[in-house]
């Protein structure tokens, strides 16, 4: 929400579900939301319904690297949030209910584990996070601000902490017990750290003891007796006395089995799981039970004794696909849900195919045979079960029977209003963006006919298209007809967009083309007419579009090319590789100037950013943004908007785009299509950003420029048509925008992929708030216009614009909730009544009547803080409405 303008994102997911390689699982505090983190950095929220179904709710984009751990960050139903940490040191605090990112921080080091700790000292409960990872300390953070409060350091052989747990001792003191990578068990007094220390002061350990176990993966304390610790390493597991860490029970190594984790699930009963995803339940011998007279009777001669007895094991879910990496398992203890409902103990599995499986552990811990899985679900099966299936942006243009072709590359040509999509059969489709978007979002007579809207297909590649570039979009020096495409067939094709013919095929690379880039301003005349292509064989080439040949091929890189930078004044092309090395090439003659590693490499890359003359810096953000967009990589996009990470769900990108739109000169772009890739091998999904503010401005300018409808002179008609053509984007976007506002339900079907639940209205309060705002502001604007209807008889100038007030209203019916049917029906049937009244009724419906119609339990009030943020909105329409809304809400 930090974006300047009100922007609505709509996601067109496409038929294929994002690959969600689960690497971390968490059951939220509210007991009905499951959170999974994946290797590509996204988080997925799943609803755990009371009838034992798991339904995906939202996919959160926020991290740029694999998620390493998830942890709850609050207590109580009112503060249901969680923390996620990524491999590159990023940490995000999220709100579970509406998927907003509340806080973001980035450290240089990676966290591999986070523990939530609530210190209820003196009646003030403070939420703390204990973080450990690839650094020798344990960091205590504030769970609300993610700021570091204290660090627990070691004097004796400090090393990375691999796992830790909090132990409450009889004296009322709480201790952190941690195991280091080199096999030391360490104890810190947590109570001292939290109460007796100045902020930032380090605390040394109280005890440090070597244990003869390395590679520990998990340490957990028995929640029932607090006397036993379960220590699991890759090859063995042991039970220790928490008082003096003496060994109570142990197992020898089992060949071919690597333990991954475990928990106490009842007094004397433990659950262990291994790297293959199998889980075993053991009963510990009586020497491990503090209540038994045999407690500690085996100390010193544990290894001769018969270890724990196996009670039962779980059945792993059937695999139809080979897993790419080990599945993750997590255990969640029994809790009392809302209304005293007793939820069973759950063991949850997440794997690389995006699948979740849940076992409900029997309460008596006895099970005759292997425990079967109770729920299995995955994003892919959910996508398949949807009807209608999730829309892709150009689904209707595929003629194959096996479902639409996958989109492997896409580029939105903002200036032309066109969308170019490369597909996996090697063809490229050029299609008007608003029209194809409208087809996916609106129902109408045209949706039935295939091949609409008019489009152009370019055939040339033999493998799938991997990247697209329209150089004119970035710099005026290029020919407006040139479009470039790179494919998996190793070739780069130059197209004439106007005629659709392939002008030239550059075959210089020995691998798939991964990126197409444009040299910046200031290069030599020869280079200025080039584009730069990067291929999977680690080569970079400069392809001259004028000479139709490759003028430089830099191919000696040992590692994949990570980024390409320019020093135009020195005639250098700077190539950064994935291992951190930097190669500097002379563009004119293709000579490798130097190859640097380490600090030097970092300095060279920094130098490239600084080398841009001061006069050009103003345009720089936009250039970066454009390149980011051209590369269509989420990472790059985020980099361009790196301060913008602090947003919610898909709106992350929204605000980024909003911000960047502001940077750009033409703010009045009502629609922006951005392609996203959830995993590196996934087909693209598209996000439509509808900028409500820009839309309103466009509408109003159009209105002002419009001749009076009554004027029938052919000249003015002609003019109007011209205007309409020019502002065709606006016209179509109106529909898009209206849709966005209208289709609370349907839009969210695409926006948040999940919607079969009744009260979709409340999926995310922030998203709903935004929708309401934009919808009402649009309705208000349309109300103030003279010709604001899509009905054919009122607007015969623009057939493409006049499709559907009827269908539109039908959609309102479906979309907004059933009880409203009558109201809107009357609005629709009352078309003869003044149009303005229709719009005002629509606005009133959303503004005032929604709470009553939906009922108190289903209506979620708009977030007041978001309304307040927009209080001084630049756009008068939005501002006025907002005040009205807030007043209404307040009442």
């Amino acid at each position: 929400m930090s974006g300047q303008s009100l922007v609505i994102p709509i996601v067109l997911w496409g038929r294929q579900a994002p690959s969600h390689c689960v690497c971390s699982v968490l059951l939220a505090e509210d007991q009905c939301t499951l959170i999974t983190g994946c290797c590509d950095g996204q988080l997925c929220l799943w609803d755990l319904t009371t009838d034992h179904q798991i339904v995906p709710r939202a996919l959160l984009f926020g991290h740029t690297a694999a998620i390493t751990c998830l942890c709850r960050a609050g207590q109580g139903p009112d503060r249901c949030c969680f923390v996620s940490a990524a491999d590159n040191g990023e940490m995000c605090l999220w709100d579970v209910s509406d998927g907003r990112c509340l806080e973001f921080s980035k450290l240089a080091c990676t966290h591999t584990g986070i523990h939530y700790y609530n210190s209820g000292t003196g009646g003030i409960s403070s939420n703390r996070l204990l973080c450990h990872g690839n650094y020798p300390e344990v960091l205590i953070m504030d769970a609300a601000s993610l700021g570091i409060l204290h660090s627990l350091v070691s004097k004796i052989s400090p090393d990375w902490v691999t796992t830790l747990t909090v132990l409450s001792s009889p004296g009322g003191h709480e201790h952190v017990v941690a195991v280091t990578l080199s096999g030391y068990i360490k104890v810190w007094n947590l109570t001292t750290a939290l109460t007796g220390l100045q902020e930032g002061e380090p605390l040394c350990e109280e005890e440090s003891k070597p244990i003869s176990v390395s590679d520990c993966v998990c340490l957990t304390v028995c929640p029932y007796s607090h006397r036993c610790l379960l220590l699991i390493s890759q090859f063995t597991w042991r039970v220790l006395d928490s008082g003096d860490f003496s060994l109570l029970c142990a197992t020898g190594p089992e060949p071919g089995k690597g333990w991954a984790g475990g928990e106490f699930i009842a007094p004397g009963v433990i659950l262990l799981w291994d790297e293959e995803g199998g889980a075993w339940v053991y009963r510990l011998p009586s020497s491990c039970s503090p209540n038994s007279k045999h407690f500690r009777s085996d100390v010193g001669r544990v290894l001769e004794r018969e270890p724990a007895s196996l009670l039962y094991k779980t059945v792993t879910p059937p695999c139809d696909k080979e897993l790419l990496c080990s599945p993750v398992l997590a255990y969640f203890p029994t809790t009392f849900g809302s209304g005293g409902m007793h939820l069973p103990q759950l063991l949850i599995w997440g794997d690389s195919s995006g699948r979740l499986a849940v076992w409900q552990l029997p309460t008596d811990h006895m099970h005759a045979c292997d425990l079967p899985v109770s729920i299995v679900t995955s994003l892919a099966t959910y996508f398949k079960s949807l009807n209608p299936s999730p829309a892709g942006i150009i689904d209707q243009l595929s003629t194959s029977d096996k479902g639409p072709l996958l989109i492997t590359a896409s580029l939105y040509l903002a200036g032309l209003g066109q969308l170019a999509c490369g597909r996996n059969d090697g063809s490229i489709v050029l299609v008007p963006a608003t029209q194809t978007a409208a087809i996916q979002l609106l129902q109408g007579p045209h949706t039935a006919c295939r091949g609409w809207p008019p489009h152009r297909v370019l055939h040339g590649h033999t493998g799938s298209v991997s990247s697209l570039l329209y150089p004119r979009q970035l710099y005026q020096r290029y020919d407006a007809r040139w479009l470039l495409s790179g494919g998996c067939d190793f070739s780069v094709l130059l197209w004439n967009m106007a005629s659709g013919e392939a002008l030239h095929s550059f075959c210089v690379h020995g691998g798939e083309i991964t990126q197409l880039l444009v040299p910046p301003e200031g290069c030599s005349v020869r280079v200025a007419q080039c584009v730069c292509s990067v291929a999977a064989d680690h080569s970079v080439a400069l392809l001259s579009l004028k000479e139709r040949r490759c003028i430089m091929l830099a191919s000696r890189h040992l590692f994949p090319v990570h980024l390409v930078k320019w020093r135009p004044l020195d005639d250098y092309l700077v190539v950064g590789c994935s291992d951190g090395s930097v190669y500097v090439w002379q563009m004119e003659n293709g000579v490798l100037d130097r190859c640097v590693l380490g600090i030097g490499a970092i300095q060279i890359l920094q130098g490239c950013d600084e080398a841009i003359p001061a006069g050009e810096t103003a345009g720089l953000p936009a250039v970066n943004l454009k390149q980011a967009m051209a590369r269509r990589s989420l990472a790059a996009l985020k980099h361009a908007a790196h301060s913008k990470l602090q947003t919610f769900a898909t709106n992350l990108l929204t605000s980024g785009a909003g911000e960047k739109d502001a940077n750009r000169k033409h703010v009045n772009q009502a629609l922006l299509v951005q392609a996203l890739r959830s995993g590196s091998a996934d087909p693209l999904l598209h996000v439509l950003f509808i900028n409500v503010e820009a839309l309103i401005i466009q509408l109003l300018t159009e209105e002002a420029a419009h001749p009076v409808v009554g004027a029938t002179s052919p000249e003015s008609l002609h003019k109007a048509q011209g205007l309409l053509q020019r502002s065709g984007l606006a016209g179509h976007a109106i529909r898009g925008g209206r849709k966005a506002g209208d289709l609370l339900q349907q839009v969210k079907d695409t926006i948040k992929e999940n919607i079969k639940v009744n009260s979709t209205h409340g999926v995310s309060r922030s998203v709903t708030t935004q929708h309401l705002l934009s919808f009402i502001s649009l309705a208000n604007t349309l109300m103030s216009m003279t010709d604001a209807t899509f009905l054919p008889e009122n607007n015969n100038q623009d057939p493409s614009r006049s499709q559907q007030i009827d269908t539109g209203d039908d959609l309102i019916l479906n979309s907004t909730q059933r009880p409203m049917k009558q109201v809107v029906l009357s609005a629709a049937s009352a078309m003869p009544i003044p149009i303005k009244e229709g719009w005002s009724q629509l606005a009133a419906l959303h503004c005032v009547m929604l709470p009553e119609l939906l009922g108190p339990q289903r209506f979620k009030a708009p977030l007041l803080e978001m309304l307040v943020k927009r209080w001084q909105d630049r756009c008068l329409e939005v501002m006025l409405l907002l005040r009205k809304c807030a007043a209404e809400n307040h009442r």
Binding site: C39, D87, A108, N134, Y135, P136, P158, D159, W160, L181, D215, Q234, G256, G258, E275, E322, L323, L324, C325, S352, G463, S464, C488, G511, E512, A536, D537, H538, L558, F559, P560, S578, D579, G580, L597, G598, I599, I602, A681
Partner: protein
């Protein structure tokens, strides 16, 4: 391992009773350990079924190897107040004068020791005071503020000593990185071919 440092008439030695913990070496070692753990996580008899599986594994191995090497080749950029806090001066016998800051780190195969001599700035002459950011090696003239007092670096002295086994570590890590990358590239070529034609 003993280094002596003369700057003007200053003689000092590393204290025998205290060990200087080289976090960079420990981190690099741990990253290598994790890489080894990843490689040996599969049984010798294990058969990989898909190229994607191999790629996924190699990707994490490469990442760990790369981090290990980066820890040695890219020393942390320290700000001058950070150096005051690390108490590096206490590690010497006889102790260093209080106006000397120490930075001790590994850079490639070299062990580097930098001594900064600082002098306080007059409070009324700090119109063009500009706090220096993080850097591995600050040049004379860098300014910083600590405890309300402003200081300026007047001299910076650097000593380096080559460590032979670090050279070996770097060499073998680089070799491992290159081999892993080659394996990964080859597998992905076949993987792509396979997935597109079958």
């Amino acid at each position: 391992m003993k280094l002596s440092k003369q700057s003007q008439p200053l003689h000092t030695f590393f204290r025998e009773d205290k060990r200087w913990k080289m976090q960079q070496i420990q981190d690099a070692g741990n990253h290598l350990h994790l890489a080894l753990q990843l490689v040996s996580s599969r049984d010798k008899k294990y058969i990989f079924h898909t190229g994607a599986e191999v790629n996924k594994l190699m990707e994490s191995v490469l990442q760990q190897l790369n981090r290990a090497r980066n820890r040695l080749t890219i020393p942390a950029a320290m700000t001058l107040p950070d150096l005051v806090n690390t108490n590096g001066a206490k590690m010497f016998n006889p102790p260093l004068p209080s106006d000397v800051l120490v930075n001790f780190y590994v850079h490639h195969n070299k062990l580097c020791l930098i001594l900064y001599q600082v002098h306080p700035l007059q409070t009324n002459l700090n119109k063009n005071f500009k706090a220096a950011g993080g850097s591995v090696c600050h040049s004379p003239g860098a300014m910083f503020e600590y405890g309300g007092q402003k200081f300026e670096v007047s001299h910076a002295h650097k000593v380096e000593s080559t460590v032979a086994w670090l050279n070996q570590v770097l060499l073998y890590t680089t070799l491992a990185l290159q081999l892993s990358q080659q394996l990964r590239d080859k597998v992905s070529v076949f993987e792509n071919y396979w997935s597109k034609h079958y």
